[in-house]
Subunit: 497 residues, 2 copies
Amino acid sequence: MAKQNKTAISPTRAEDYPEWYQQVVKAADMAETSAVRGCMVIKPWGYAIWEHIQKNLDNMFKETGHVNAYFPLFIPKSFLEKEAEHVEGFAKECAVVTHHRLEAGPDGGLIPAGELDEPLIVRPTSETIIGATFAKWVQSYRDLPLLINQWANVVRWEMRTRLFLRTAEFLWQEGHTVHATKEEAVEETEKMLGVYATFARDYMAIPVLTGVKTESEKFPGAEKTYCIEAMMQDKKALQAGTSHFLGQNFAKASDIKFLDDQGQLQYGWTTSWGVSTRLIGGLIMTHSDDNGLVLPPRLAPTQIVILPVLHKDGDHGEVLAYCEALAKDLKHTFYGDDPIRVDIDKRDIRGGEKSWGWVKKGVPLRIEVGPRDIAENKIFGARRDEDGKFSMDRDEFVAKAASLLEEIQNGLLTRATTLRDENTVELDSEDAFYDFFTNNAGFVKAHWNGSPVIEEKIKNDLNVTIRCIPLDDTDGEGVCIFSGEKSPRKVIFGKSY
Amino acid sequence: MAKQNKTAISPTRAEDYPEWYQQVVKAADMAETSAVRGCMVIKPWGYAIWEHIQKNLDNMFKETGHVNAYFPLFIPKSFLEKEAEHVEGFAKECAVVTHHRLEAGPDGGLIPAGELDEPLIVRPTSETIIGATFAKWVQSYRDLPLLINQWANVVRWEMRTRLFLRTAEFLWQEGHTVHATKEEAVEETEKMLGVYATFARDYMAIPVLTGVKTESEKFPGAEKTYCIEAMMQDKKALQAGTSHFLGQNFAKASDIKFLDDQGQLQYGWTTSWGVSTRLIGGLIMTHSDDNGLVLPPRLAPTQIVILPVLHKDGDHGEVLAYCEALAKDLKHTFYGDDPIRVDIDKRDIRGGEKSWGWVKKGVPLRIEVGPRDIAENKIFGARRDEDGKFSMDRDEFVAKAASLLEEIQNGLLTRATTLRDENTVELDSEDAFYDFFTNNAGFVKAHWNGSPVIEEKIKNDLNVTIRCIPLDDTDGEGVCIFSGEKSPRKVIFGKSY
């Protein structure tokens, strides 16, 4: 074990939070930069976490009546241009395909050839290409609602990138739906926001605020953007998912029309909603500590790792057989709907190095088994969310493993909720607001009159934005702390990723 | 029901096989062309089949020790150029990204701007970009074998496309591995070919030949390409999957080196292997009939569909409740490792239209339940792989459902195997060979001296290629039927997709 005053990750969170984040990603072997500007390589441990996120979200989408489909990677330039705000929002970060082959150039090297009649944009999001397809699928009110999801890669040419949090290419899901009425579309938008909030809480152990974005922060082309906002350990906000009520904007741009039950031709009402590999960034920043990644058990690729203690002259066979039997019993135990995920690390390396490797990877429970433990039919365990170790009868551990995992899962959520609540304040004056954000980060609840001019000023002065207009607000009307004007409700301010 | 002399799909297989294929895809609502040249939209029914293919293959990859990861969509042009044969093979079909934003052009429309220093190729396959990453991951023999798989989209700018069979963008998996020795790499290449052959047989109900491609048909940059080849109902061959032994070609191009256990620096030995959404095309062409898609139960998104017979004046509530209870009982029954997948089609449309919809979608078992069946506690069923209907006690059906599905699964494999075997001949003379392929398709086993000149001539004369040099060949040496020269073994000839 490392000395008490030394941590596995350097720098610590307190010393340099952004650099700590990069080092956690590296120490847990989750992702790395690639030779392609802004594009990351998601390594097996990071990708396995994404697989668990996918699987559970996908189940939730299907339970709410959605089906998956797949649409083209490329969007003709003219499609993107169909919705004015939309193209303006994405034009500056488009990867543009202009040629369809390579041929020998004058100096012998290969150069692009076969210029396309119309440039193709690598999808930054798929409203316009999916809309063109939906226009064919939707003819009558009987075809509605149309509830589709796509798992895909998208590209937004970002200048400053950070692994998982902001990359030029990222993986995501994008839901796209069409409805016969405005009410149904709004209901869908809010329902899927609810799915995201539930997933964040129950699987990621991340408490989120649900709310609506201001005009200046909404998705290009949307009528209304809903979001979930989480607080990281540096007290900055992370937008973890968005759900957009698109009104009839994209239906008109893509000509999605249907005959209603009165025989009248109407434009459909559409929504879109997405979460991405950015969730993994949020997961890291919510739970990890100065020794590395801490994974909520529900999303941990390995929930329990068994570390055989192999002494030089001991009977390795006996120890390994005991570990195999223990693993087998644990795998027959369920945590939630799935068998417990157990690994045995049989590598022939030093015990300390081996154990620290799993600490840094964030595995919830580590179990050491040596000859002495076998003799006493005990295991020696450590929880990733707590210091210290515990000893337990082998069979008792098997019986309690699932409840221990659940205790860890719940404990992480409680800890994150406490951090957030302790760093959320309500402020009643502009001075207090400026004071707070000059020295601090956190969520500030305060009255605001709805003016984008004030939003802009706060952003320039303090790098603070309105994270959301909360959905569950019960404060009612008041006085804007910046203008003294009437305010319909309090909103949430914060510094953000 | 349609009249006996009329089929749901027009034209029939006999009338126009290629057009029949397109109509089956359309009638089953599996995919359609998009506004983007050569790119398809995979519709929910087609995508659900892909999800089942993915899930089962992914399990097989993981059982053989592979883990998933994700690598960039883009490949710098210089990377592709590192392996000479490789870039030559793909240069003519590359989607090339040359710019990273759009800006207002002279006539007001948007034009590509922000030209890249180096063009990026949308991956047609990922050996070079993954190789660059592997070069960092592999340092010592202790890092080997490195066994990685990626699920991804790829783009090859094809001029003539056909849904699932050949599209500019397609979905696939690509395995990439590095080994310390040539023997281990060859073993891996053959093992993954075996995984593909097993998957084709046990899940897709497609019997495949396993073999090696000739020099002229191998993957650009490979030492040796192994393949699985299936026979479609028009007796043409479909290459359904490939596994490449890459020797040290890509290791040298990407500088993948390791210190062996003697402390010597060595180049690694690499493999790659892939199957794609093309498998769905093969699935369609192997099993479907003149009434539409026929799905092997293991890959059917819905294995049993229950069709409530709702008479105008009858008690819909009672019928639907009976159907729900039946569905529940069936869902508690396992077929293979999974609960049986059951749907109830409650749509208020004519019974004939409803039933034919599911025939065309290929669902293995259709169950009708009307008031009379309920009174007798019976169900009225139809198998997609047979004409006619059957009546059965309700509980007997629940008890037998899984074995009925297995019977259908096995029956499809038997039928496909019979078709293939009946259309595979051994020929001993060039005349017989030319006769056969002038009037026929099918697999021809014949001796060949290994000359690419002969291959070229046959291709030009008959549009026939060597599909593979079979792995399980026991014929031994003989005389080439084209040249009279010595032949080391018989090879398989055929017309192909």
